[in-house]
Amino acid sequence: MAFKRIFLCILLFQVICGYAQDRQRQYVGAEALFIAYNGEVADVANIRKSVTANQYDYNSTGYSLNTLSYYTSFGAHTEYIIASDKMSFVCGLRFTEINNSIQHNSAWTNQTFFYYRYKQDSTRTDYVKVSRIQQKTQYLGIPLELKYYWFRRHYMISPYVIAGTEIRYRMQSSTRFTMYESAMSIYEQELLPKVTKPSNSHITFYAGIGAKIGRPDKPSILFEANLPFLFLPSTSFGMVQPKAGGGIRLSAQFPLKSN
């Protein structure tokens, strides 16, 4: 299935970018992206609350949990300059790894675990003490972006704004429990099916502002502040759902075709 998805992505990439044979200027580039985001734990049905909660407290849910969520992307892209040399269209291929983890918030107590319910019938309940749950997911994605440059041509630094979307297909996902008592790790296989898996695919929308350093007909470097703001479906990331985030992208570009 993974190979079919890779083939489909490459084919789609060729179809979308293949029409640009007669564009004004063309660049190819490589990029690296890092985004950190604030997430909300979606998988709380089996987690025991640990703090008093009401609408007036700082914690209105009763769960004292911390999330650590970020993703890194590496990819290649082609940029086609259109519309009087100020606007460009970018498409590419991107490999992304999303990392989510949940652990107990130890800011107010010495407790470094939370109770996870893994088995229950009418008269017996079993908890396990969990230090951390980590989920790692790899995607292959096709980004499609529009850029607007304030000024170009002979200037070394060209600031721009960017808006884009990326369709991602899930390649692989893994979840890992770190137990408070290491002897309980033998029960990890019983817990894994209880954790929500990320969806097979999702779409993300983002915007950013950056600067391209280099002359139009020379290799250049791009720095960009990138802000993803919408993920569809909203429950696509698995056990931690993104709320807000931001990061940076670094790219190197080479001119491929000029006027």
């Binding site: 109770y115 009418s122 008269t123 017996r124 079993d126 908890y127 396990v128 408070y180 002897a183």
Partner: protein, 211 residues
């Protein structure tokens, strides 16, 4: 001399280990009911909370008071719920200055005689008609005990769960409801919308000659 010191160290270690139970589970977690804002919602997680309306006041568990105790004597077993009472527009749970009167309600059940705290699980899915004279209810307000002459009401244990943490027996979670009308100190009172979700473990299970 060295042997005596070693013995003392071992004794302290044993005492320390005995008291290393799941104290995080013994703390109260108050999750408020959206329908009754100053009562805890009904739950079955062992959150060590309870609450009820005492006429128009609130009788509820508090951060400073052990919410539930089980006292077994030769003749009966008493389930004792202790907290504080006050007006419903005040967040009584956080009353750390002890400005409100303490209150407890004790339900005495004669045909219940658990040998250990784990035997209290026999309360699973049971209900007691409090008008039956074999059962008795006592209300204590600021250390003054008032026997309740029950007019109507029930005490129900919807669920009694044996809780294991990391495969070790930890406590029995009792979850249920209670409500009754009674004459207390020559005054009719109503205890309504009562709900509890408490853990019973070695430290709040007592075996006494009489209570």
């Amino acid at each position: 001399m060295i042997m005596i010191k070693q013995s003392i160290y071992i004794m302290f270690a044993i005492v320390f280990c005995i008291s290393c139970n799941e104290y995080e589970l013994q703390e109260t977690v108050m999750v408020y009911d959206t329908e009754h804002p100053y009562l805890p919602e009904y739950s079955e997680w062992g959150y060590n909370s309870f609450g009820a309306y005492f006429d128009r006041e609130i009788f509820v568990s508090n951060t400073s008071i052990v919410p539930a105790k089980v006292i077994r004597t030769d003749s009966a077993t008493t389930l004792l719920f202790s907290g504080i009472k006050g007006a419903p527009d005040i967040d009584l749970y956080h009353d750390t200055y002890k400005t409100y009167p303490t209150m407890s309600v004790a339900f005495t059940i004669p045909d219940l005689k658990p040998e250990t705290y784990s035997d209290i699980a026999q309360l699973h899915n049971t209900s007691f008609d409090l008008t039956d004279t074999v059962y008795s209810v006592t209300i204590t307000i600021d250390s003054i005990k008032y026997p309740a002459q029950i007019l109507s009401g029930t005490f129900t244990c919807k669920r009694a769960q044996t809780l294991y943490v990391d495969t070790k027996l930890s406590e029995i979670i009792l979850s249920g409801t209670f409500d009754f009308k009674a004459i207390v100190n020559a005054t009719p009172i109503t205890l309504s919308n009562g709900r509890y979700d408490v853990g019973i473990y070695a430290d709040n299970f007592y075996v006494l000659q009489q209570y």
